[in-house]
């Protein structure tokens, strides 16, 4: 058997054993070093350590930290209130509020489960109380939360930028169009459902004064994406520094302006953030070790040759890649999937004339849909934790909105301008 085949069989078996993904990745890589190379085995731990030795990667712990502070310091609540003030009076108002809050929150956090937690804990109970149905309420938040990894800043886009050496600033800018498209399609779905099921909006519409107040309260939160993204794109700071500044900004707002966080809360939030980011970063470290093995097995080259021999057009290639990534997205964790697959597929894509930035958006959108499909949709687990519905039922509830995301994916795949119109030298 070829080493490649052995590797994948071992990896798959380890995954099935319900061992942590990070452990499965790392152990498979170790076996490769042990049986198929003469390299010193300390090379494995050396790679594990040095895989994280990049300043760009450090944006991830900072964005996780910032998102946690915003959730606990009252910023997300105010964003939700502002969204409610804007769209609450329309039919299905609370669900519309949920989608728009997710879009806001996605624009200040880089993570999709964090978005589900921030918006879901506030709005899922409120929607259920308003008679929207437990299934619909949970499903719409689980799916809208996945916008978190498309609308910048986004952890998976950072990971893609590192894996393929493309500009993270460009990737962020390119995420806007597709993120807005997906968001508006979800809003359409909510309006349709509201019309069919007769879901009401607010009983008593807010007065003009109340609405202005809601916007003014949320102003500091709404300013954050402009500050972060403007800073990155204006060349004021790197994505990592921007993420650190987002921590400082949300900290100052929570501690001194809103005063909803005490120093004791801060200590807890810091520990919780360290835990959350360690979980992601430990997977990333092991995934980089694993992809090191794939590269030394020259697997990217083999795949490139395979596709060249198949002589696909870019149109069919993207269709094949989409189908494959959707499947992978159901089974693999986002960051490790990107680290392993981006270097494999990007060479083929660029040969066929696909823009690397556009390809990154396609990859992330596919894996985003994977976050709301079983068995490995992280958002499903988080949403099920909030609404106390079983994961299977949350998956069923998310199906219609996942189909909407799929439609958005097809449009984004074949209309590159939606991603590239803002990117310099793109389009």
């Amino acid at each position: 058997m070829s080493p490649t085949l052995v590797l994948f069989v071992v990896f798959f078996l380890l995954l099935l054993s319900t061992a942590p993904i990070s452990v499965a990745l790392g152990l498979t890589a170790f076996l490769y070093f042990f049986y198929y190379t003469t390299l010193p085995l300390t090379q494995t731990t050396d790679t594990l350590f040095n895989s994280l030795n990049t300043f760009t990667l450090m944006a991830i712990p900072f964005f996780v930290f910032a998102a946690n502070i915003m959730t606990h310091g009252g910023i997300s609540r105010r964003l939700t209130e502002a969204a409610n003030a804007a769209v609450g009076r329309f039919p299905g108002g609370l669900a519309l509020t949920a989608v728009i809050s997710c879009m806001f929150f996605a624009a200040i956090s880089g993570s999709s489960p964090a978005t589900v937690v921030a918006v879901g804990t506030l709005l899922i109970p409120a929607m259920i109380e308003a008679g929207y149905g437990r299934m619909f309420s949970t499903g719409i938040v689980a799916t809208s939360g996945s916008l978190g990894i498309l609308i910048p800043p986004s952890i998976p886009l950072i990971v893609y930028g590192i894996a393929t050496e493309t500009s993270i600033g460009d990737l962020f800018i390119a995420g806007f169009g597709p993120g807005l498209l997906a968001g508006f399609l979800l809003i359409g779905l909510v309006l349709f459902t509201a019309w069919r099921r007769g879901l009401r909006g607010q009983e008593i519409p807010l007065t003009r004064a109340q609405r202005i107040k809601a916007f003014r309260d949320a102003f500091l939160g709404l300013l954050l994406p402009i500050f972060v993204l403007g800073g990155i794109y204006g060349g004021v700071f790197t994505p990592t520094e921007a993420a650190a500044m987002a921590v400082l900004y949300s900290l100052i707002v929570s501690l001194f302006v809103y005063r909803e966080m005490t120093l004791k809360d801060l200590a807890r939030v810091t520990v919780a953030s360290a835990r959350m980011s360690a979980m992601i970063m430990f997977i990333i470290a092991n995934a980089i070790l694993f992809s090191f093995v794939l590269t030394s097995e020259r697997i990217p080259d083999q795949i490139t040759n395979l596709f060249i021999n198949l002589d696909l057009s870019w149109f069919t290639f993207l269709l094949v890649v989409n189908a494959f990534l959707l499947l992978v997205g159901c089974f693999m964790e986002t960051s490790s999937a990107i680290l392993i697959l981006a270097p494999i597929f990007l060479p083929v894509a660029t040969r066929l004339g696909v823009n690397p930035i556009h390809f990154g958006i396609i990859m992330v959108m596919n894996l985003e849909i994977g976050m709301v499909t079983p068995p490995f949709g992280l958002n499903l687990f988080v949403a099920s934790g909030i609404s106390k519905l079983s994961v299977v039922r949350v998956a069923k509830a998310s199906a219609p909105s996942a189909l909407v995301l799929l439609a958005a994916l097809l449009v984004v795949t074949y209309v590159p301008d939606i991603s590239l119109f803002l990117v310099e030298g793109g389009a």
Binding site: L15, T18, A19, I21, L27, P61, A274, A278
Partner: protein
Amino acid sequence: MSRLDRILTAIENTLAALALGGASLLACLQVILRYLFNYTIFWSEEATIYLLILSTFIGAVITLRHNEHVNVDVLSSLFKERGRRALAVLSALITVIYCAIFGTYAWIMITEPVALRILTPALRLPLWLVELSLPVGLTLMFLRSLEMLYRSARGRDTFPEDDDSEYGEEAAE
């Protein structure tokens, strides 16, 4: 055992949180100094990286303790009580093996001549010192995974949410 557990937990939590907090402060300070005073702390990037690596490898111990490392949980939904328990033992055993192997080589790595001799470019710290977070983290993970193995073999709950459960809000949700 429980006393040791409490002390270890306190140390892990404090270390992971301090490293994350410290790195955040340092990175912000660097941006502010650069823009206001055109001053660059030449070692800040390196220090930020090493602090966050420390936070990662120590934080990974805490996540292991709470059994929060992400896994693909397809099989256990197909099994009943006994099968699930067997699967939990198997996955804990694999984790023990992982920590044992990587822990061993991590200790070997930092005692190699290269690690003892080379200094990091900016901070001028010996390489073994900054790399220490990996073997220490993996050793602690090894201990935690042994505990997990023991618990799963005895059929006990593998999600110990005890004295520090208050820290768990986020990931436990």
